[in-house]
Amino acid sequence: MIEIRSVSRRYPGAEILKDISFKLEKGESLSIIGPSGCGKTTILYMIAGLIPASSGIISLNGREIKEPHSQTAFILQDYGLLPWKTVIENVSLGMKIKKYPREKASAVSERILKDLGIYSHKDKYPATLSGGEKQRVAIARALSTEPEILLMDEPFSSLDTLTREKLQQTIYEIHEKRSLTLITVTHSIEEAVFLGDTILVMNGKPGRVISTVSNSSRRKKDFRNSKEFYSICSTIREMIGNI
């Protein structure tokens, strides 16, 4: 579904990414992990169609991505919620831009807010919410237009452990239920392993993929407490430690 073929990204005087390639089928989940500055976020921006690749091809269903695509939703780092819009206005924004009828937009927003347990905050401004609540709003906004692909940039990095695991579980369930194609950029090893069918380990400046770890036992029951979970985590920890 998504194919990245020998993609590089350069700015004048700096090379961010070099020769990145991977493929992702519909309904699959990919985690990208690596140290800060290795270009993980840049990959997401390119898939979202916000910035072009300097060379190589990024394609979706065989067509090159040149601009933001209506099937893609992107949750930016620090959520990207507009401070001057209330929770429900933020959630309906994507639908408003895509010209959904007003009644449909408000019905969808209310349903999603209820699903995510933040309906009671619908008329508040983001500044008054906690980190976890903001992240739920961002997820609600991303899902409102029923995308096929969800991109998340360090979605839970500023949350406390309890909230983070709860939201990881929420995303896990949403991914299963809607058969989304999911790409998560993170620097938490546990998060990468919990959410990714495949885990790309990146490093370097310019950034390169140093290893692709397959995580086939991920969808087993109670994976987070299983032996496999810990063994994959320590494999990846070792890889990153050796960098």
Binding site: P68, G94, I97, Y125, A127
Partner: protein, 509 residues
């Protein structure tokens, strides 16, 4: 509850103004400064006549039309310049060239081009407000975090979506702030425009009353203009709260602590500049001294106030010189008065780098104000006015030493010179007290050189007591009391000196 606080504040401020005005008019005992109740009665009487409201309405129309016109042009332009670095690069130089030009001097040209009617006044005010709003909006949009753009673009948003959902809401509060701040400017310019070749508006009302020596009517007009300014200010504040409500949701939860921190930071930054405010009553005292042998017109009084305020704003402008924030609306006399003062003030920040006498220097720089006033009006300074300057100098140097006790660690670390850093906090307190004893001695000396009436000593005694209180509330072991209360005592002393001189003059020979 929260809603009511501003009104209580307004009420308190009004009462303070009323009381001070009453004291001043009682002390002056002259028709030029009528008592506030006379003005209030006259105002209420006028307010029942349609002619007053005609003038009021015409002035209000001119100001509101100008504000609306400048906003409707500057806001879209500012958002575009803020959003597009390309266009900004093209137009910025034009804005930077035009912004500091004193637009007020264009009055004759504007009148020639657009006639004597409303249009020329509206255009003049618009010219001035336009740039303030433009720059505020552009800078506001520039500071928008790119993540909001990315966020809207990733949803498939076009440029018009970005403007609608990001740029315009982000720019709105900035434009409101600019409009609110420029209300005062707008009304000042309006007065200026209405004082010239016109027969309507509150400005005309004031100038006409002046020509007829109807002092009460002058103050009725001033009251009318002030009320208009206040009303506009409140309207814009309410509009901002309504249209930019997201900026106020945090208020209940977090503004309390944030407000406190913010206050202390700006407070300590502004303090040196705040010293200049103490010079105004002294400049006025210099004026009173000059009364004895020279004629002083109301115009001179006005210009001196403008000069002092101009010097202050310009000094603050120096701080933000990169922003080119000096709107030079000052006339020539203003510049003549304030410019040398400014040079001295400007030099102050450097003196701290090489001598602990910096406090004395600061006192000297600000202390020049009365002598400057004298020179502007009467020429060669007399002994009395020199003594007055020395009073101001020792007054300021004395408390500047106390203030710098707070910065003693910083100064030591940065190798800056100050009396506390050089001699220690205890000795600094002693030196400060000594300086203020000299201040009081000089105030007593002024009695003899100026030939004041004996009532002068009532105020002298008050000043002496205030100094004692000031030095009692701070002590070398705990300098945390050098706070706003302390600041207030200093301003009360300055004002008391003015009343002392005024009383001394009025009751003297």
């Amino acid at each position: 509850m929260k809603q009511k606080i501003p009104f209580i504040n307004i009420f308190v401020s009004l009462s303070v103004i009323f009381v001070l005005w009453k004291i001043a008019s009682a002390a002056a005992a002259s028709a030029i400064l009528p008592s506030p109740e006379d003005v209030l009665i006259a105002f209420i009487a006028e307010a029942q006549k349609s002619i007053f409201w005609t003038h009021f309405g015409i002035s209000a129309w001119r100001v509101c039309a100008s504000i609306f016109l400048s906003w409707i042009i500057a806001f879209p332009l500012g958002t575009i310049l803020g959003y597009s670095p390309f266009l900004d690069r093209i137009f910025s130089p034009v804005v930077y060239m035009a912004y500091p030009v004193p637009k007020m001097v264009l009055l004759p040209v504007v009148v020639l081009l657009f006639g004597l009617g409303d249009l020329s006044k509206i255009i003049l005010i618009t010219l001035i407000l336009f740039f303030q709003i433009l720059v505020a909006v552009r800078d506001g949009v520039r500071s928008v975090s790119p993540k909001y753009y990315d966020s809207v673009r990733s949803m498939g948003g076009s440029v018009s979506d970005i403007f609608r959902h990001v740029v315009i809401p982000a720019a709105l509060p900035h434009s409101f702030t600019a409009v609110r701040i420029s209300t005062g400017t707008a009304i000042s310019v309006l007065f200026f425009a209405e004082s010239f070749a016109t027969s309507s508006g509150l400005g005309y009302l004031i100038m006409d009353a002046w020509a007829r020596a109807d002092y009460i009517m002058i103050f009725v007009g001033i009251t009318g203009m002030s009320l208009m300014g206040l009303a506009l200010f409140i309207i814009f504040s309410l509009l901002e709260k309504k249209l930019c409500s997201w900026n106020y949701t945090m208020e209940n939860e977090k503004s309390h602590e944030r407000g406190l921190i913010g206050k202390t930071v700006t407070y300590s930054k502004m303090i040196k500049l705040s010293h200049t405010i103490f010079a105004l009553p002294f400049a006025m005292s210099g004026l009173v001294l000059a009364l004895k042998e020279h004629t002083v017109t109301l115009q001179m009084v006005l210009w001196i106030i403008i000069a002092m305020i101009g010097a202050r704003s310009a000094a603050m402008g120096f701080n933000r010189i990169a922003d080119a924030d000096i709107d030079a609306e000052n006339s020539e006399i203003c510049l003549l008065l304030s410019f040398p003062l400014l040079l001295f003030l400007f030099f102050y920040s450097y003196t701290k780098r090489f001598t602990w006498l910096a406090h004395i220097y600061l006192g000297f720089a600000i202390g020049l104000a009365p002598v400057a006033v004298w020179i502007a009006i009467a020429g060669v300074p007399e002994l009395s006015v020199i003594i007055l300057s020395l009073i101001l100098m020792t007054h300021i140097a004395g408390f500047d030493i106390l203030y710098s006790c707070q910065d003693v660690d910083f100064d030591k670390e940065k190798n800056l010179f100050s009396i506390p850093a050089r001699f220690g906090v205890k000795k600094a307190f002693f030196i400060s007290a000594l300086l203020h004893i000299i201040t009081v001695a000089l105030i007593i000396a002024l009695y003899f050189t100026a030939g004041f009436g004996v009532y002068y000593f009532i105020f002298t005694a008050v000043i002496a007591v205030l100094y004692v209180i000031e030095h009692k509330i701070v002590n070398p072991d705990d300098i945390s009391n050098i706070n706003i209360a302390f600041f207030h005592i200093n301003s009360i002393i300055s004002v008391t000196v003015f009343f002392a001189v005024l009383t001394g003059y009025l009751t003297g020979k």
